[in-house]
């Protein structure tokens, strides 16, 4: 992990128009949470509905997409990654440094706002907030790692990532039973469900898999995606055409 690379990545990520969306979206969620609280007088079910569907289902994957593709995608796109690759820094360090920045950004701009929004929208002793916080943390890690690896793999990372996040996780995940077992969102909700214990079903937090399965599959995906990303970075070929 290379601190210079991390610094460069931070500056690159937060200095672009991308960062505008990264700030606006969590604010939107917080606003909605406040509105939900006012409207439903802090009902936990309303809060869970908002965070579970909009927060975990739409906002989190999209933000992870923006962040994950933003740490390395633009550099590969315009070819300036060459400068980094030509330095005597192991490819492993480069990718891990960028991944670290991406994960930290996800935590700050996505996970923490989700925790805060849950608390604002309606909670009991911060139980729901911690549950969703845990789920968001695990899912965020997985999504971000997947999207960073995807950015190294293909120039169309955004489109593929969108298809995955939207079609696979949201739409198909809602209709096709088998898909739910292979969904990051379900894996991440498993520990949350476990954490809430008997309250989980009442509050609308449920997962299609058990906690051990969920955690292990998450670990497999995170480690696998990281390893694959590093391997691909070692043999990166820069194409001139779009």
């Amino acid at each position: 992990m290379n601190p210079v690379v991390m610094e460069l990545t931070v500056r690159g990520l937060l200095g672009r128009r991308r960062s505008l969306l990264l700030v606006v979206l969590p604010l939107l969620l917080l606003g909605l949470a406040a509105l939900t609280r006012w409207a439903s007088e802090g009902s936990i079910n309303a809060s869970s509905g908002l965070i579970g569907n909009f927060g975990m289902g739409t906002l989190l994957p999209l933000m992870c997409l923006l962040i994950g593709t933003g740490v390395i995608g633009p550099e590969i796109d315009d070819g300036s990654i060459v400068y980094l690759l030509a330095k005597p820094v192991p490819r492993r360090s480069i990718l891990l440094a960028k991944l670290a920045v991406a994960l930290a950004t996800t935590v700050i701009f996505a996970v923490l706002p989700i925790v805060a929004s849950t608390a604002i929208a309606g909670d009991e002793d911060l139980r729901l907030s911690s549950a969703y916080g845990l789920a968001a943390l695990l899912a965020g890690f997985a999504y971000t790692t997947i999207f960073v690896a995807l950015s190294v793999l293909t120039r169309n990372a955004v489109i593929v990532g969108l298809l995955y996040a939207l079609l696979w996780e949201s739409v198909l995940g809602g209709y096709v039973p088998g898909v739910r077992n292979v969904s990051v969102r379900q894996w991440a909700l498993a520990p949350a469900e476990e954490m809430l214990g008997f309250r989980a079903s009442g509050w609308g937090v449920s997962s299609a898999v058990t906690m051990p399965v969920g955690l292990s599959l998450l670990a497999v995906v995170v480690i696998g995606a990281t390893w694959w990303g590093i391997a691909k970075l070692k043999t990166l070929r820069l194409a001139a055409a779009d």
Partner: protein
Amino acid sequence: MSAPTPPPAGPPAVPPAPGTGSPERRADVIHDIGFRHYAGERFGRGWIVRSLLVDTVRGVFGIGRPARTKVMPWVLVGILLLPPAIIALSVLLTGGNELPMSYTEFLGQFQLPLTLFVAGAAPYAVSRDLRHGVMPLYLSRPMVRTDYVLARLGGLVIALFAVMALPQTLLMVGALLAELPVGDQLVGWAGGLLASALLALLLGVVGLAIAAFTPRRGLGVAAIVTILLVVTGVSFALSGIALDQGADELAVLGGAIDPYRLVDGLAVWILGVDSTIPEFAVTQAWQGGLFALTYIAAIAAFGGLLMLRYRKAARL
């Protein structure tokens, strides 16, 4: 003694056709083989704008471009054509006398493929030229800045309209084959086309405005999808909250910020069709009026943003 008359002064000797005189073929030598001037027709702005518009439509669908650019748009078109085919077949086989899904409902139910289509098409239309700095080459031609923007916008809107109208037409043809009442179907179909036109224009303007703000194609795609999805999510959340509070009429207004619900609401109000989401159906005239105003304001606002962006960005 008669001198041989000189041959009549006919046309001067014709030069050898370019390329056949076997000049040296060093790759970096520039040959002078006679510059021919052009005294033919030159078309005006109107033709140029139409030409660029057609180019944009063709490019959105990947015609005249490498094969991999055809995948996304045609896959989405296929996805959109499947349900009407299935519905038509099912009506044919089960012998019902009514379509399970109306023409305008179709647009609301298949938001996602439409969103993905505009998210892919809008950046193609504008981001490439901005990214590679091609604007000076357009601006130094006999066209005005707004010509370029309108041509690109028109191309995108027409492409979107085609993507929406084709499935609806397929649905109509299927319905007619299933011997459903002709009059009803034609009226419904025409209404569907009107809704498609409204939606195509709105999505086109919004998508283009967002895409024009970043020269990066990837970010443009992500931004359009994110914004459209988030806006839908927020509108449902707001409507849900209003419904909980018992303010049913206000709940309908939540749809004003979502392009799909906005156009759906307009269709309900103008055409009297069923709303895609019955709980949020437009029932009052003032709601309809507000929707209409919002639509016009949105077109003006995003259109203005687009023009502003080009005034700033398209400097030589």
